[in-house]
Every structure is written in C-alpha cells, then in structure tokens.
C-alpha cells in the first residue's frame, strides 16, 4: 500500500524541514519531527529508506550522548559538534529524499507549472533535468578519452593541475553545448512548445485528502512547537 502525495505538499515538507533547521528546537520536538518524516516514508512505500534514515538519526543521538561528558577536549567536542550538527541537517535530507521518490521529474515540473512559475523558469529547469544526465555521461566519456591520450590520467593529476584538467574537461562540453542546444530547441519547437495558447498536463496535479492532512499537520506542528517552547 502506498499513498501518493502531491509534489506541492512534498515541497511544503521540504520547506518545513529547512525552517526547522533555522529554529531553536527542543529535543523532544526534534524527535517528533523526525518520527513524522519517518512515517511519511512509510506511507510513501519506502520502509527501507525510512528505516535507514531513522536509524542514522538515533545513532547520531547515541553518539552525542556518549561523547557529551568529554566535550572539554577540543577534538571530541568537534566530533560532538558534527554529531549534533548533522543530526539537525538530517530532516532536510530526509524531506528531499521523500520529495524525490515516487515523483517523476515530469510530475515536479507539471506541479511547478501549476503553481504559476513562469515559462522562463520552467523551460530552463526542464532542460537542466533533461541535460544533466547527458553532461555526466559526456564527462565520463571525456575522462576515458583523456586516459587513451595519456593526459591527466589519475585523480592525483587532477589535484596537481586542477585548472589544466578542468580546461580539458569543460571545453569539449561547452563546445558541443551550442549544437545540442539547437537540436533540443528544434525538437521542442516542432512539437509546439512555442504555442502561446493554453498548455495542459498529462499528470493529474491535485491536492487530495492526504495532502491537506499533511500540510495541516506540518503547520500545526510548527505553530504548536513554537508555542510550547
């Protein structure tokens, strides 16, 4: 069983987690929020992923608990700082991971369109998601080509001559960027992307009961939590 959430309520969750990072937060409340996120993973059908995050959270809590008595030592206090710091960062990571799973990129884009983001942002964003995997692929091909040529072969070379190596990597990519851009433009234009009339979406972007529930829980938790403190 899996409950599908609308990208917009997922976005709320991500924003909510970012706000959490900025606020003073008591430990019980923190536990409450992380547990809430864990349940979202459950509902979303990602038991395993949720459990991993949840276990990491408790390990960080445990680690900090054991180190705490020794914080007068500078190195241990740094470690303890990293434990607490990363623990506070965890909800944002969890929220984003929740946001990306079981929601296709195209659904995100459809939702952002529906939220009224202008065309000027939607198109480049679509291209970014579309083109980034290609860039990574090109990057790998270039690294192979460099190995055949015997230039900047190892990671060490990369560290010693970072600027030179970056030039080798980025110039071929930038050189073909303009042609790729023309090809993509052609593909988009002949299929009517420039049509000034109304565009529709193949995805049904609609807030359902679970979305309203999630958003109200988040808002109440935030207000309630502030009030309790």
């Amino acid at each position: 069983m899996r409950i599908k959430f609308d990208p917009r309520s997922k976005l709320c969750t991500i924003l909510f987690a970012s706000v959490l990072l900025m606020l003073h937060l008591s430990f019980p409340l923190e536990i409450f929020f992380v547990t809430l996120l864990f349940f979202l993973f459950l509902l979303n059908g990602d038991l395993k992923k949720g459990l991993i995050y949840y276990i990491i959270f408790w390990l960080l809590v445990l680690g900090d608990y054991f180190i705490l008595p020794y914080v007068q030592n500078t190195w241990l206090s740094l470690l303890s700082f990293l434990f607490v710091g990363n623990r506070r960062l965890l909800p944002t990571i969890m929220a984003a991971s929740f946001g990306m799973s079981h929601t296709k990129i195209s659904e995100w884009i459809a939702a952002l369109k529906k939220m009224g983001l202008p065309f000027a942002i939607i198109i480049p964003l679509t291209v970014l998601f579309r083109f980034f995997p290609t860039v990574i692929q090109d990057f790998k091909s270039i690294r192979s080509a460099m190995k055949y040529r015997g230039i900047a072969v190892t990671t060490l070379d990369l560290l010693i001559h970072p600027l030179q190596t970056m030039e080798y990597i980025i110039i071929p990519i930038l050189m073909s960027a303009e042609n790729t851009s023309l090809d993509l433009s052609a593909a988009a234009l002949v299929r009517g992307i420039a049509n000034p009339g109304k565009h529709t979406s193949v995805y049904e972007i609609k807030l359902r009961v679970q979305d309203y529930l999630l958003i109200s829980v988040l808002i109440f938790a935030l207000i309630g939590g502030r009030w309790l403190q």
């Binding site: 998601f129 290609t134 192979s144 055949y148 015997g150 090809d183 002949v190 299929r191 009517g192 049904e204």
Partner: protein
C-alpha cells in the same frame, strides 16, 4: 499538398538552395537523396519551419503548403500539422521519461487529459511500444529512443511527416521497425518527405526519389526508375546501395604475408561485469591480429562497447588475462597501446589547434609529415579542431593515435550519418591503418561498410561471441 517555387536560401553569403521548386501530392512518399552538403537538410528545415524560426538566414520564394501561403504562416500553427523526426536520437527528446515525451506535443497544444491518455494508449499499441511506456528515456537504447521519437511525432493528427536521416544511428533490426512504421503511415494516406543516405530500407516505401546536388533538385526518379538502376549506376550518382548486401562467408584468407610486423592481442577466460550486475561479458578464448580488419557486430546492449573498453585497457577484466604479443599485459600498459575513436568524436579533442592536438604527447614525431599528408590534414593544421567537420575531426583523432604510437585502434560506429563518398573515405583510411600494421577493430551496424572494409566478423549477443567468421572483401 506542397507547391513551392523559386526557393532560395543562404545562411550568410554562400547560397545553400538555388531557385529550387518542389511539388508534392498528398499521400506521396518522397525520398531526398544526395551527397552531404547538397542542401537536403536545409530544404527539410525550411519545410518544417525551423528556418527561419530557429536557424536565421536569408529565405526567399513563393508557394503554398496545405492550401495556405507558406511564407505568411504562423510557426506554431503550422508545425501542428506536421510530424518531425530528426537524425540524432540523443538530442531529440525533451523530457525525462517516455510517457511525458509522448504527451509533450499534446500538452503544448492544450489537449484535454482524458483525450491524451487515450491517444497515448492508441499510439503505443500501434507502434508496439507499450513495454517502454514507464521507462526513463535515459534507460533506452539509441534505437528505442528513435522509435519513441517517431511515435511522439505521431501523437497529434498530422497530415505531413518530415524525417531527416532517421536511420543514421540505427542497427538493422531497428531500421526494420522504422520501415514498418513508415508503411503504416503510408497506409493511412500520410504525405512523407524524408532525407536519407541509407536507402535500402525504403525500396517499398518510396514513391519518388529526388536527387539533390548543389542546392538544386537535379533529377526526379520514380520508384520504378530507381529500382531499375544497376548498383554501379547508383554508385555513380553518389548514392548508397538500394540492396542490402548479405555478408558472404569464406574460409580464413591468408593475408599474413602483407604484414611486416605482427600485432597480436589475445584473451583467455576473460569475464567482465559492472557492479551489481551479472556477467556482461564472457570470452573464453579469443585472438585478434593485425592481419585482419575485424568488424564487431551485434544489437545495442550486446556487449560490444564493453568488450572494446576491456580490450583497450579502459576497464579491468574481473577474471582471466590479456596477452599482447604473447606477453601478459596489465590494463594500464594496454591502454598505452590502444585508442578508441569514439562515436562522439567532439569529446576527445582538447587543444586549440589541430597541430597542437597532434603533437602533445606524441612519441612518433618523425611520422608527423607523413601522417598529415595521408590523412589530408595539411590545410587544417592551424584550425581549432572543434570547428572542423565530423569527418575531419575523425581524421584528427586518428592522427593523434598514430603519433602517440598506438598499435590498436578501435572505431565506434564511424559511419553513422555518412554519405557514400565519406563512407568510402573512412573505409580507405582504415585500410591504410591496416597497411601500417595497426590492429584495427570496427564496431558498426553498417553492413555495406562492413562488406567494403572488414575481413573478419565477430558477432556479439548477450555478452558472448556467438559467431566468428571471415567474409569476402569487396
């Protein structure tokens, strides 16, 4: 349906199309053929409206398409009537998954959701693509991408289809699908205009062949007239074969005397697999020598490119070992002896002039003059490699390999999108490399090219060599 007169076009000074007339009746299938640079692609860009919408230039002429004045059209209304397929499967999808890709044009023209779902189902059934529907575009092979591109060009109810060398990057099996798709469209009474170098799959699709030369339509042939021509006549027109050659097997030819210096690469009990995958390559025993130019064939995903990466030292085999001239060799030593001319050759040129590209890391500097001459690069030495044409880039890449003393050169699909002249050119270059004692391997699905170039064929299927034979070389 189309009646255009006096079409002229130029990007800058040099005219690309000169006073060209084009008449096409509804329901016809027209094949534009001719050498690279004859103006086929430009004509198609004018017909699909991308000139002048995307590619700026100087376009004049008069005429009618779909009963409307072609030169007064509104671009986005006009393209609603036409389905367009381009050459490169990698750059003609715009979203990340098949489902959205099919819906894309419908979305842009504001089709209601319910209607979209019905249309997607109808088209995927018609083209037998239902299995791909939920996939990410990035998980498809090049051929599958091209089929999806074809299907997505059919989503709206079009009357005219324009295809620009749709088969360039496809293997024979996928070309078979492409042909079947075209026949379906024809049966539905669609008008089709396509440009193509590989003509063999179009013999029962095409009604007319328009031969283009220097920006004009030089000759118009009916399908019958075209098919009556002998293969020599076809070649004289600068066109590629109409009849796909079948590779003629033969017993091992003795070419060993030609070679002054032997290069032998062999592998024993070699396996390779990517992380978390089962064996994607299993080679019990194989010996490759520079006596023969070896062609590597097989479907997409059959393990050809993995094989080429392993035997060039880029990937380390998980088990077994490689021998180079009877000596055990590590991948690291092997990569110093080998070079792959990649399909996207842009990504392997790094420097600002051709000369620098060739001389950096060069070991065989003494050969510079000879290599430059043989590969016809002397007039290009000062140019930036990235400004060259595809074929010139390929030759620069080969030159860098030769000058750094590589003994094994592997070509990955060197002929995609090439016309007859350029295919011959690369074939001659490969034969020259062979004479220079280089061990040459060619990954390709171009049978015409295989027959002209290779002596030995390795056929791959699911990571194994299922056939290994010699062919008659013409």
């Amino acid at each position: 349906m189309i009646d255009l007169k006096n079409i002229q076009f130029a990007y800058d000074e040099a005219p690309i199309l000169k006073k060209l007339d084009l008449q096409v009746k509804a329901g016809e299938c027209i094949v534009l053929c001719g050498k690279s640079g004859c103006g086929k692609s430009t004509l198609l860009r004018i017909l699909n409206g991308l000139i002048p919408e995307l590619y700026e230039g100087d376009l004049t002429g008069a005429g009618i398409v779909f009963n409307d004045d072609f030169f007064q059209k509104e671009f986005y209304d006009y393209v609603k009537e036409i389905g367009v397929v381009f050459q490169n499967p990698k750059t003609q999808f715009f979203t990340n998954d098949v489902y959205s890709e099919l819906a894309f044009s419908l979305e842009n023209y504001g089709v209601e959701r319910q209607e979209m779902l019905e249309r997607i189902q109808e088209i995927t059934e018609q083209f037998s693509l239902t299995d791909l529907l939920e996939k990410s575009m990035f998980h498809l092979s090049g051929g599958q991408k091209q089929l999806v591109a074809f299907a997505s060009a059919c989503m709206l109810q079009h009357r005219l289809f324009i295809l620009d060398e749709p088969s360039s990057n496809l293997d024979e099996a996928t070309i078979g699908y492409l042909r079947a798709y075209l026949l379906q469209l024809k049966e539905q009474g669609m008008t089709i205009i396509l440009s193509e170098h590989r003509l063999h799959y179009l013999t029962d699709v095409a009604d007319h062949y328009f031969l283009m030369e220097e920006g004009m339509i030089r000759e118009r042939y009916t399908a019958k007239e075209m098919l009556a021509k002998s293969s020599d006549e076809i070649n004289q027109l600068g066109l590629r074969t109409l009849v796909l050659p079948t590779l003629e097997k033969m017993s091992q030819p003795d070419l060993s005397l030609q070679q002054e210096k032997k290069v032998v690469l062999s592998c024993e009990d070699m396996t390779f697999h990517y992380r978390k995958q089962k064996n994607s390559l299993v080679i019990p025993s194989l010996t490759l020598t520079n006596e023969y130019i070896t062609g590597i064939v097989g479907h997409n995903g059959a393990g050809k490119s993995t094989f080429s990466k392993v035997i060039s030292g880029l990937l380390k085999p998980k088990a077994g070992y490689l021998l180079f001239n009877q000596q055990k060799i590590t991948p690291k030593q092997l990569i110093a002896e080998s070079y792959v001319v990649m399909q996207d050759v842009n990504l392997q040129l790094f420097f600002e002039t051709v000369e620098k590209e060739m001389t950096v890391n060069a070991k065989e500097v003494a050969d510079f003059e000879q290599v430059v001459e043989m590969l016809n690069l002397s007039h290009l030495l000062e140019r930036h490699p990235q400004t060259l044409s595809g074929g010139e880039k390929q030759r620069v890449a080969i030159a860098t390999a030769l000058l750094s003393g590589k003994q094994i050169i592997i070509f990955d699909e060197p002929t995609s999108g090439l016309d007859l002249v350029h295919m011959h050119e690369i074939s001659e270059t490969i034969k020259w490399l062979h004479q220079k004692n280089i061990l040459v391997l060619v990954i390709t699905h171009d049978q015409e090219f295989l027959e002209k170039t290779c002596h030995r064929i390795l056929a791959f299927e699911q990571g194994e060599i299922i056939d290994d034979y010699f062919i008659k070389n013409k």
